[in-house]
Symmetry: C2
Subunit: 376 residues, 2 copies
């Protein structure tokens, strides 16, 4: 980076990082080890969630300022989805190490490219509508990040969701933006129904969409307070990245990294230290965590309460609702089944209900233990 680049506006110093990991086992048997959630089209748009994420970021940052971190086994799939992605911006993990390692390594690489670099981390497998509102929120977050804060984007709840974590918003931060920016008091885990309703009525709680925006150095220094050795290793890997030594250094250090989510190494400690702010945003967001979410996404605002996903899907319904996901062109006939979930793949057929959709994860867990792993 030249001196000129360093003096550019904050948004021009933003690099977006897309951590593309996680199978999404509650979406099995659609999601598999070799077909993780971020490679799926869960909206019927024709694009994978990863491709949609890329497209959403395109108006904010040019292709050369988007980094994807993914497992080595997904390298080719990611390149196929994102032909514009620069080779030096594809960071592969030899084994999954959760989000601290993935985002941390990207931050360490960026910090070397530009000491003033701002990193924005956005999940590869979420769905967002109202993209202009998303862009506004990112711009606001980037300005806060430039001031040295670690910023997150929280979503104004539209209902008492129990499937998401929440952000408790504190003091409004008019000094950072005229409106919609708040101190983060704390991050709270997925609530039960009653608490989710309290949050909704209270108004000061936002959905945690797992977006983090900060100067790369600020993020790493925050992480180092909790995991100093990890950050030393990440910076050592970053220094060797793209050189002849790169592979051997990664091979030596990556396996030593702890598996830990960035929520615990950065977000929560930063909130406790008063360094975390959130932008309260109004766009439609969903982490599409299970088939009930997929169904709701697909039927929202439409007349039918039966969602169908799949290019060749043929569905005949008699008094039925829910979702049919089909990878075949055979006829799926439903008679009098409400809130049903049918997922029809070549080697597995799943039948459950929207209210039990979360429990698919348990079944997958059971199969890991009792056999059937080849179907996962």
């Amino acid at each position: 980076m030249t001196e000129a680049a360093k003096s550019t506006a904050p948004l021009d110093r933003l690099t977006c990082v897309i951590p593309a990991g996680g199978v999404g086992s509650r979406l099995w048997p659609l999601s598999r080890a070799n077909a993780p959630k971020f490679l799926l089209d869960l909206t019927g748009s024709g694009d994978s969630l990863l491709r949609a994420t890329w497209a959403r970021l395109a108006p904010i940052t040019p292709p050369e300022r988007v980094i994807v971190v993914t497992g080595v086994s997904h390298r080719d799939s990611v390149i196929k989805q994102l032909p514009e992605l620069l080779t030096e911006n594809l960071v592969t993990e030899s084994e999954p190490k959760d989000s601290s390692a993935a985002i941390g390594l990207a931050a360490a690489i960026l910090e070397l490219r530009d000491p003033d670099a701002i990193i924005g981390s956005f999940a590869a497998d979420h769905v967002i509508r109202n993209e202009v509102l998303f862009q506004r929120a990112v711009e606001t977050a980037v300005r806060a990040a430039d001031q040295g804060y670690i910023a997150t984007i929280g979503i104004r709840p539209s209902h008492a969701a129990t499937g998401f974590g929440y952000i408790a918003a504190g003091q409004a931060r008019g000094d950072l933006a005229p409106f919609d920016v708040y101190d983060v008091t704390q991050f709270v885990e997925k609530p039960d129904e009653a608490i989710a309703r309290e949050y909704l009525e209270h108004g000061g709680y936002l959905w945690n969409a797992g977006m983090f925006i900060a100067r790369a150095t600020v993020l790493l220094d925050q992480m180092a307070e909790k995991e100093p050795e990890m950050v030393v290793a990440l910076r050592e890997m970053a220094a060797a990245w793209g050189t002849e030594r790169g592979a051997s250094v990664r091979e030596r250090l990556w396996p030593t990294l702890p598996k830990i989510a960035i929520d615990y190494t950065v977000a929560e400690p930063a909130a406790d230290a008063g360094k975390m702010v959130c932008v309260a945003a109004h766009f439609d967001w969903d982490d599409v965590g299970d088939f009930a979410s997929v169904a709701n996404l697909l039927t929202r605002g439409r007349g039918s309460d039966l969602a169908v996903l799949g290019d060749g899907a043929q569905v005949l319904s008699d008094g039925s609702s829910g979702i049919v996901v089909s990878e075949s062109d055979r006829l799926v006939a439903l008679v009098g089944v409400e809130d049903i979930v049918v997922v029809d793949t070549a080697d597995v057929l799943l039948v459950t209900t929207k209210s039990r959709a979360q429990d698919v994860k348990n079944l997958v867990g059971r199969m890991k233990v009792t056999g059937g792993g080849h179907l996962l």
Copy 2:
């Protein structure tokens, strides 16, 4: 037939007729035009219902005294299922004409072979357990038939079934058998739940299992009172049957026959005329009318309330009940679905519930009108 044969005991003059028609559309998509219910194995025994019917009759009548009436399109399938069936005992219908024509033609053929012939008609697609009790009931019915009555076998209800027609039993007929034979007061249609419970408590109502036993001539003469032209045509076809003229006579007359169930041409008029008696039987009987019946048959007396049918079926259940019918070897995973019906065939997947299983018929009816007939 020789004079000696005519003087034999009534049971030795019994010929069993198996009308093998009817697709069984409530069992779609397992049942199809080319895979009607009687060709299916619905008990997991490895035998089709037709083969099981044949085997059930074998201790009562030798192979040369069993006639099968079926559609021309099922000729080869029937021969494959019943290699012991004599060629002259396979009666084919050029088009389906319901049970009066099918059973009536068999009766007319038998009447010519032996004026004292007794015909017993037993559906090709019902399930019976306690076969010895079935044999006893047939023997009793045959004795009543020899006396000139039209006999039916009614099943003592085990529960307040709404899926079967009922027989109202009247006066006990100790003159015909020491016990278990009654006049038939009337045949009644499938009742609603409340009436079915009344029938059960009353004790004088039996399930109508559609079995009719009578002298062939008595049956035809009874039919002639309601449908005289039909019986003339049936007797004309029978006279030509097996001769050079057989095909041309059938071709001319069969299409002219009315489509009418034997219940309306024989059973009900005979009951009204006091010529109908019933044997009250205690064997397990089911007409396996829908997937709920199939499920109940398969789970009866077993610990599990999840039935699985299909040689290669693989099912993984988490808190689920009902039935999985699979023609493939792919995994069917069920999570939290109760009383579910899943039928997994090569080109159609059906999902319904035990309580809605009857409504599959409506869907099939809709497909006939709106397209999709190639899947029926």
